[in-house]
Symmetry: C2
Subunit: 323 residues, 2 copies
């Protein structure tokens, strides 16, 4: 099977998106952007055995490759539009490609996004790079840099689940529903595109959680030139995570686990009602977990006391951090 | 050196491009497109030891990674605007990264294009994916599909040089200026962006030559639903290629060699004068090498006689074809 046959069989689909003037099959794709919007470009790579275990279900790998990029689009408050895919494969495996492309299109369809082009190549291991171009009304994009002392710090969903799920998969511990639910949080992260797309009037800064809650909040605070406090007892730990790991281990995973692809954002404390309303409208758990402070340190607090926390890095795969 | 330090040291540069609202450093980049233009998206991957030899000069690898994508932008008749880079590295090599980023920015600067984002990861081998977003006035993009029987077939530059240069590098045969000139054609391909950007009123179809002249003309003709004839004696063989390889081997390399990153285009025969004028204005050799015919076969002809030609594939690296 040569590249052209591979693309035809697994990746070329006829779409009905009127913004696409020319899709897969030429030297490039042609799209027609909305004239009154800015573009947001994100790009994330997943390397086999670095960012995901090679034996993970192929459709989950395909879904996840798209979802982690959609999470960046969400963190910018943007709407996903067009996707390009660079797929480096070690060999030809029709079953894998079938599953991978199925998962990829599941994620793309769920977010009304088209695959418009890319490149397939051979290499020693599977490397998957997805680039998404989204759009946003001018000046409406969320950035990491706008948090101010006094702002509340929020997180969507329940951090820690994905890291626990990956560890369970690796330990071949998927005997009960809680365990399988945690794996699903790793394999099929839910990008918070719809909710985050409405955050612009309320949020002062945002970032997606890929490297771990603590590390990513730290990045947001560095970009904002501020410090912060995380209230450990306010961390939204899922019932599944608590059941499988117990509270202390769950807290550690929530802070340092990575791979959550949830959104952290900050907002003035006058916005509490608006944010509760958005949480309800999109049926996405949104939890206040801390406060932006002066200074430049991120601290953790429990029952009113500062506790020592060093993000030693609970990461199974020692890859470079995702952006 | 973590990812952030690596990006800061080698890839983050402050630019003055007013179309860039937000560059490297957030979850995504924000750009402001021209409201009256369509966007053209291209993406090409280079895998170490598949698409280039690992020992090639790092600055050449960086330059080439950008240039092969600019060649796709040229083949679409577009103007390059913004670039994203996914870089998977097997290890940390400061000298390599220094050279690679230098070459990458040389190519980007030459074509007034900014690096706005991307991702760096660890893997078993170097994998470089570049995505470029360009723009073009509505309906002005060149496609593969518009060639009509009777059209002339043109090629820019001198095909075959790059494949010869790569073979010389591999054989450690770089003793004279001709040999070094041929290697340079592999290491630093010249994307024909300026000339191709003016082809829209004249050309009926275009493609860039990455897999080999014969194979790529064939792709253009398949997309156009036509056949064609290549006049072997009209192939523009460079003095360097003839000196190093002799005529028969030069012809074979020109037809099948690959890695040329020249542009093949077709035009009605009433356009001869316009095309000669463009060739002169941009100081780019443009040569008529054949004719589009009815049918669906691409043939070669020499001294009025059809000659057998099978593109057996003169490819040192047996990677999947580039798009």
């Amino acid at each position: 099977m040569d590249e052209f046959e591979l693309i035809r069989r697994y990746f070329a689909r006829s779409g009905r998106d009127p913004s696409i003037v020319l899709g897969i099959g030429d030297d490039g794709a042609i799209v027609r952007p909305d004239p009154d919007r800015e573009l947001v470009m994100v790009m994330d790579t997943m390397v086999e055995d670095v960012h995901y275990p090679a034996g993970l279900d192929a459709s989950d790998i395909g879904y996840r490759a798209v979802a982690v990029n959609l999470s960046d689009i969400a963190a910018m408050g943007a709407r996903p539009r067009w996707m390009t895919l660079a797929l480096t494969l070690a060999g030809e495996d029709a079953a894998w490609l079938d599953g991978f492309s199925r998962g990829l299109f599941e994620a793309a369809d769920e977010f009304s996004m088209a695959l418009i082009g890319g490149d397939t190549t051979r290499g020693d291991q599977t490397v998957i790079t997805v680039q998404i171009c989204g759009d946003v009304p001018p000046s409406n994009a969320l950035r990491r840099s706008g948090a101010k002392p006094g702002d509340d710090i929020y997180v969507t969903g329940s951090p820690g689940d994905a890291a626990a799920g990956l560890a369970l998969w690796q330990g071949n511990n998927l005997r009960n529903e809680h365990q399988r639910q945690l794996l699903r949080r790793f394999a099929r992260p839910v990008p918070r595109v719809a909710l985050a797309g409405e955050l612009a009037p309320h949020a002062t800064a945002a970032i997606d959680v890929s490297d771990g809650l603590f590390a990513d909040i730290e990045k947001l605070l560095v970009a904002s030139g501020a410090g912060g406090v995380i209230e450990i007892d306010d961390l939204p730990l899922s019932a599944a995570l608590l059941a499988v790991q117990g509270r202390e281990s769950a807290i550690e995973l929530a802070l340092a686990g990575g791979d959550d692809y949830e959104i952290v954002f900050t907002a003035q404390n006058t916005r509490t009602g608006d944010i509760a309303e958005l949480s309800k409208r999109y049926a996405v758990q949104v939890t206040k977990i801390g406060t932006v402070t002066r200074g430049n340190a991120l601290k953790c607090q429990r029952a009113g006391r500062e506790i020592a926390y060093r993000h030693a890095g609970y990461r199974h795969f020692a890859g470079a951090a995702d952006d």
